[in-house]
Amino acid sequence: MTESAVESSAGVAFGRFQDLILRRDADPRGVYVADAVHEFPFDGRVLRGVEEIAAQFTQGREKSPLHWSKFDNLVVYPMAGGEELVAEYDLLGTIAGTDREVSVRALVVLRAADGLVASVREYFNPAQAKALMEELMGERS
């Protein structure tokens, strides 16, 4: 990440977003603005407002045995003005109770307001997500 991205509002917001993904006890209410929008363009889901986003995180953390540990191969593209950035990365994690490691390639388009996330468009591979979900369901059954 470039120094300017770290210091920019978008850089600060993205740092908070990363922390939220990696720390299962982190609260989305300190990361997103109240009327934030989190979209997943490849599967059409749209979460509106920090409460809906927080509920999604809570549900995911309760149900998913995936524990994310690192944003690897991170490349950040800052935008002029400092309120927007694009980031590409491999999100690394493990499945709790196993040695199984997972790597998910993702791209986010993030817009910030005063260091908080105002909107995120999160792109990931739905084919990989589907396969992973089936694997996790299989392990639980």
């Binding site: 490849f42 593209y77 002029a80 927007e84 388009v109 468009r121």
Partner: protein, 133 residues
Amino acid sequence: MTAAEVFAKTRPLIMAMDMPAIFDLLADDCVVENPYAPTGMPARLEGKPRVVEHLNAQFERTTMRFEAVDSEVIHETTDPNTIVVEFDMLAEDTRTGAKIRRTMVQIFRVREDKIVLWRDYWNPLALSSQGSG
């Protein structure tokens, strides 16, 4: 030319599938990547000859006809040589007549008016459900 300018030049060529004109815009050491490519499709192509070979083969067999671009947002980064573009490609499958909307996000980098990186994220599940191309 900036990346945005080269992209603006490239877009109508893509819509028209004007392959020779597109190839003229590729740097000799260009890289084309499809990070979410399904099995059987290369995730990375290095060098203009490989890219030309692959794109020619792809466009020869495709049944897609591009019709329009919707919801396009061009993100100009602090590096004028790099942009990120989000858009939906609207197309028709000429074999079935089905109308297709494919959401895409691309990283586009240029050097000396030529494309050096074209990284293309799209949903492989949509590809399998909507036909080839």
